[in-house]
Amino acid sequence: MPEISATVKDGVATLSGECKSDADKAAVESMIAKVKGVKQVVNNCSVAPPPSAAPAPVVIAADDPLSKGVTDAIKDYPGVKADVKDGVVTLTGDIKRAELKKLMETLHTLKPKKIDNKLTIK
């Protein structure tokens, strides 16, 4: 355990450093306690945090709230039609180029799985 260091004074061994796990920390403590002349062990070792977990999976909105949100989002774009299925929003119809970005910005906040843009851009 190269990361651990110990100092001994008057029979008291003080351990410091970083252990990989609680089990390692306990193991090194009992090992040191068996050393002749050690009366007490002060175990100041820290335990390394576990490696960071994989990123949480992406949350996709259920079709009901997603459909409602999509209906609200497109209501001011009379040429736009939208279909929602299994989280995928499919856009058909037409839209002015100047309005496309704004509509997309709104749709992207609804937590869809993906947005399939089949709009004709005027």
Partner: protein, 140 residues
């Protein structure tokens, strides 16, 4: 990681404009980008880069949910409808009755956020109700 390469400039821009809690996750051939932009201008910049890398947003391989962090309760927001008044409703949904209006380019106070689509707002005239987030822009 192919999508992270395709959209590298977008992710680099997100970092350089100071998007916080930035997450970029690939799942089923879609790149999900989440975070909070420090300003409306920063969010605009991201959308401009996205529109450049994927013209007209045709590929369907990105879902970018980046909010503006200055849009917080108590702050003011500008009504950015195309021209018309903004409907203020009794509840969060376009099926809810209209209880007031805010004019185009009026400034309203954000009271609380219902979700990414709806805010409870108050006008200077004292009308309070729910407005669609897509017509509220941060003041900056």
């Amino acid at each position: 990681m192919a999508l992270q390469d395709k959209y590298r400039e977008l992710l680099d821009t997100a970092r350089s404009v100071g998007v916080t809690n930035l997450q970029a996750r690939e799942q089923d051939n879609v790149l999900y980008i989440d975070g909070q932009a420090p300003s409306g201008a920063a969010k605009d910049q991201l959308w401009n880069v996205y529109g450049k890398l994927d013209p007209d947003f045709r590929s369907g391989d990105v879902v970018m949910n980046v909010n503006v962090s200055t849009m917080v309760p108590g702050s003011k927001a500008l009504v950015t409808t195309q021209q018309s008044n903004l409907n203020i409703r009794k509840g969060p949904g376009t099926d809810q009755p209209i209880v007031g209006k805010a004019a185009h380019h009026e400034v309203v106070t954000l009271v609380s956020k219902t979700n990414d689509q709806w805010w409870l707002v108050r006008t200077d005239a004292g009308e309070e109700g729910y407005a669609s987030a897509q017509y509220l822009s941060p003041q900056n």
